[in-house]
Subunit: 190 residues, 4 copies
DNA sequence: AATGAATGAGAGTTCATTCAT
DNA sequence: AATGAATGAACTCTCATTCAT
């Protein structure tokens, strides 16, 4: 019974993900979300206060799944390069495999869809990467740049490659992934 | 007289830029666009067929202003590094000074707002940069990577820095700009 | 419950009939139709895809009620004169009693309000009258004229008398009805 | 100069006739009328107070051209049958040749497009036919029916044949025209 | 808990009309 | 006299949200 309820919430979040990705936030009406989720329109409001709440919840959930994926197999005791490599490949795999989630995040990050406070909430999980970079800077193995710049060059490019891959212009396979990692690593090391 | 007419179209495009940036496409109704432009709602339709046409037109115009800015002072006879430096600084300055335009482009590039055919149309102006990279690869001064990857590491990171700067977390000044260029250059050179 | 739903559709069709009759298609806005039907504007679209659909549906419904009325008590085994008399009086009574319906049909038949395909659909029910005339022509009791001409002289004049009656210039009572039938009969018999 | 002005009024009336016939009153915007007439929208208002005035004027003009045509070659001294024959053939020829005008009148006569007072104004020209019928009734050569009924059976059927011909179902040629006249004459004579 | 019919504010768009030129 | 850009009320239709069942 409890399970069934959760199922509906799950279905709604997934329907939203799909529809926002395919048609954009501006063409993902509640009625369509409900239909895609196999639920009556009114039912949405048992699980979410309003549309914005649904979107916010989805954003936080996806952001958190992203962070979890990013740090799988990583421990803060790893050497900087190894740690970064683990995280980078995690992120790359997430972006290139969990395409819907990654696309959704891209859309949210470049649009005023998400309330600023919620966006901030979604950022906290990235801390281990920032800590790693701080350590790397102290050890002299990472360039002494703002973490924002490091993120821009180490992680953010993958979003572009995701988008390009989605438009079917390009496919990032295992080999080019390694070369791409080289570029990222070159960008942030002295 | 001709000038006045153009003024209204101009005002509408600017109003759209502002509103889409501030509230997103989904919350930039024609009525608000008209009011912001200081014009009656019906007037929009003298200049644009429908909302999508207005958005498309704006996109192409901004994209073209971006390309023009990107290649100011660049000639294809420059050595690869110098050429890239000129273009990179142009783009950085555009992104960091023409903030509204750059923000709008970011939004368009990550959202199904823009018709795919129009998006393609907006891409053609980038050719000189791609040519430069091809030459660089032949000369062995640029990594033998897909142009998409090169773009992802050389240019795309600036979009992230723009967004961050907009959220007032960070300011890219002249000195950090140089360091950032180093990162970009390091990413794409062997 | 099912009944209540149907009630709203019914109310909308009736409101449309009234308003189109009184003000014409061009001055029967959806908002007025909704208000007249005692329903919110948006509710119309649960029952009809668009305004044209509402109009088309109404047309077909009225046309069909007309045909049903026309052939009440008629069987194809009747002698031609008797059969015609039955049908003619049926039609006369319909036109003169079901005034709104008849007026609406007149308007539709002389205006590009109705899609041509829908109009064609509405015609099929008249077949028994055409069959009767064919038989009459074979028996030599009906003039050998095109069915269109027969219709023009036997049935169509009633539309005029309806319109005239509506404008309160004239009232067709039982006695004059008989005389009018004589005229119709005289027109189509040799 | 005076001629040129009149030309524009003429062009506007003709454009209106065409557009209302083809698309109906509800889809004949002033802007389209202006364009069809080769004139600027604002210019319409030099010649007509508002749209309704334009329609009314057109109606009266066409109605009057119809009446003029109807009584060409007729004099009140003719014997009843001959007089009727002249008028009937005039009307038949008008309906079947001046198709646009006749179609427009049909549309106006079955729609609340035209103000009732204007409609009444358009009727006066028919007086000679009514006078003829009164004489015929006194002479016992015309059935003692209301003039409305006589009109319904003698003249109105031609409107139906016009409509049918317009939809390309039927063509009324010279021979069938004679037979059709017989039907009309049979309907109104004892 | 779930439904889905109903709501009505508001979206995009049209168009009769005006008025500066 | 003529223009046509501009207006803004009114149109058709959508959709987030509510509520009786």
């Amino acid at each position: 019974m409890k399970v069934k309820v959760t199922d509906k919430k799950r279905a709604l979040l997934e329907a939203t993900l799909t529809l926002v990705n395919n048609s954009g936030f501006h063409d993902a009406p509640m009625s369509k979300i409900a239909k895609t989720a196999g639920v009556a329109p009114g039912t949405i409001y048992r699980y979410f206060e309003h549309k914005q709440d649904l979107i916010n919840t989805l954003y936080l959930e996806v952001k958190s799944s992203f962070s979890t994926a990013a740090f799988g197999g990583y421990t803060s005791s790893m050497p900087v390069e190894e740690g970064f490599r683990v995280i980078w490949y995690n992120i790359a795999d997430y972006k290139l495999n969990k395409v819907s989630e990654a696309t959704f995040l891209s859309q949210c990050d470049n649009t005023p869809i998400i309330d600023e406070s919620i966006r901030a909430e979604g950022l906290v999980h990235l801390q281990p990467l920032l800590d790693l970079w701080e350590r790397g800077k102290q050890e002299g193995v990472i360039r002494p740049l703002s973490n924002y710049v490091l993120y821009a060059y180490a992680v953010y490019p993958l979003s572009f490659l995701l988008a390009v891959q989605e438009r079917e212009f390009y496919k990032l396979d295992e080999m080019t992934k390694d070369e791409t990692f080289q570029a990222a690593w070159a960008a942030i090391t002295p």
